[in-house]
Amino acid sequence: MAPTTKLFPVSVVGSWTRPVWLVHALRRRQAGEISSEEFNRIADDAVLAAIKYQEDAGVDIITDGEVRRDNFYSFVVEKLSGMKLMKVSELLDYMKDRAGFEEILRALDVPAFAIKSPIAVEKIHEREGGLTLDELDFLKAHTTRQTKIPIPGPYLLTRSSWFEGLSDKAYPTREELAKDVVRILRKEILALKARGVDFIQLDEPSLSQVVYGDEAEQTFMCAALGSRKDPADELEFAVRLMNETVDGISGVKFGVHICRGNWSRKEDVLLTGNYGPLLPYLMRMNIDQLVLEMATPRAGEIEVFKEYRNEKELGLGVSNPRTDDVEDPRAIVQSVKQVLKYFDPDKITLNPDCGFGTFAERCVNTPEIAYRKLKVIGEAAELLRKEFA
């Protein structure tokens, strides 16, 4: 499908909220009580519902809601050999600073059992079928809208999958693991491109932890993260991995999504800080669009973009996925007009700040409110198109 020429296209960050019956099926699959095939047959209905909600709300570039996934990145454990899905409560036994990490979980209001990480315990290899090809195939078979597939970014996947004491026999350093991560992600991207995906979003929320979060070597930010070094080193590493991942690949739009956390509806446990410290690094990533969280007050000032006018497209977060209040389209229009000081109209896509179900068992909203939030984004987009056409 050709890229849209519509001004202010509406998109999503990726995840949709899960119905209870799907969560039960997910647990049964994880317990080995049903096969992946049986689970996917059940999940198909949830995907169709997610598609319908997005289409009815007027979303132009849609996802499958990531509803087949346990969370936005841990699903890779079923798609890659050499990985083991481990709860953070299990990782506590391998943490260097167990007390410190427990404090982080407490401060962030995260139960240790709820977050699972794919840990590289042997050399990792892709299994047949890729990481998300099934998601794209089903999505394209059931929509005529443009398609977006979010995948974990190379920095997130490396940092969340390498743990000292678990990974170092196969990968003495995380840099060694990163080589395989990049190789696997490149292969996935090329396969998605061949199947006609319109937009590939690489999720890197942990970059905000590097600049805004605590300085512990092992910490948490939407994922249990091991082995942190100096922030500048981490960000350079992230830029290098991203560029190695997308190097030479054209014909598909790339975005990177960075938020400040979406595991809780409590705003005070999520991170705070504007994108200023990250922008110099993000601008060096060879991607087209920054998919950012800007609706929450924790996002800070838009003026940080003034030195980077039109350098990238902006997937502008205009709706907080974690609140029950449905935004006013006129207020969204006003927010967008502030951003238009630094971006031309054809550089802006409108989306929520993050997904509605980043973690399957801790969705941050109901389908009804999520739908209404997307609908008002669509209404705001229409108002903007009339004004700027």
């Binding site: 039960h24 647990r27 709860k87 407490r106 139960p111 059992f113 709820a114």
Partner: protein, 176 residues
């Protein structure tokens, strides 16, 4: 045929045990007590507690110039409260046929007047005036049902209720 288990408990057998507590005075007496712990000083601020065939070490944090080789008594008290409520939750859920996938309880407390313990204050409460306990649970039941199970676990917990109610510490003393 082996009895089915739910949440790792053979409920039929376990219910039999619970019923025998009601029906057999000897069983009731055995479960009632006395429950015992012998705590032996290990030097410095360390102790070792012997309970039946088990032994647990206790220490104090480095901030007290201790060796921090084990959790402190006041931390293990929180753990005991949480652990007892965990048992109660599991039993009550299992009785109702509810499968539990995961659960954990995060507890915390602040001393009201630790200076009393330190010998700098003649009055006041040196312990926890209150203990927060947050349950995180993933189970096959709706929230209302799980709240009822949690309520039953808290109200029926011997350890939590010992801590929550005024409990006499009856002391004796012998010098050798």
């Amino acid at each position: 045929m082996a009895e089915k288990e739910l949440n790792g408990i053979r409920m039929q057998k376990f219910q039999g045990i619970l019923d025998s507590m009601r029906d057999d005075p000897k069983v009731l007496q055995a479960v009632t007590g006395p429950w015992k712990s012998r705590v032996v000083w290990q030097g410095g601020l360390k102790a070792k507690a012997y309970m039946r065939k088990h032994a647990v070490e206790l220490d104090e944090p480095e901030g007290l110039d201790a060796t921090d080789s084990a959790a402190s008594a006041h931390e293990q008290l929180l753990s005991a409260v949480g652990s007892c409520m965990t048992v109660g939750f599991v039993i009550n859920a299992t009785k109702r046929g509810i499968k539990i996938h995961d659960m954990e309880i995060a507890l915390e407390g602040n001393f009201e007047n630790i200076l009393k313990w330190a010998g700098h204050s003649p009055t006041g409460h040196p312990g926890y005036p209150s203990i927060k306990a947050k349950l995180f649970v993933k189970a096959d039941a709706d929230e209302a049902t799980l709240r009822e199970v949690w309520k039953a676990a808290v109200e029926g917990s011997p350890v939590a209720q010992t801590v929550a109610r005024p409990t006499q510490i009856v002391t004796e003393f012998e010098v050798l």
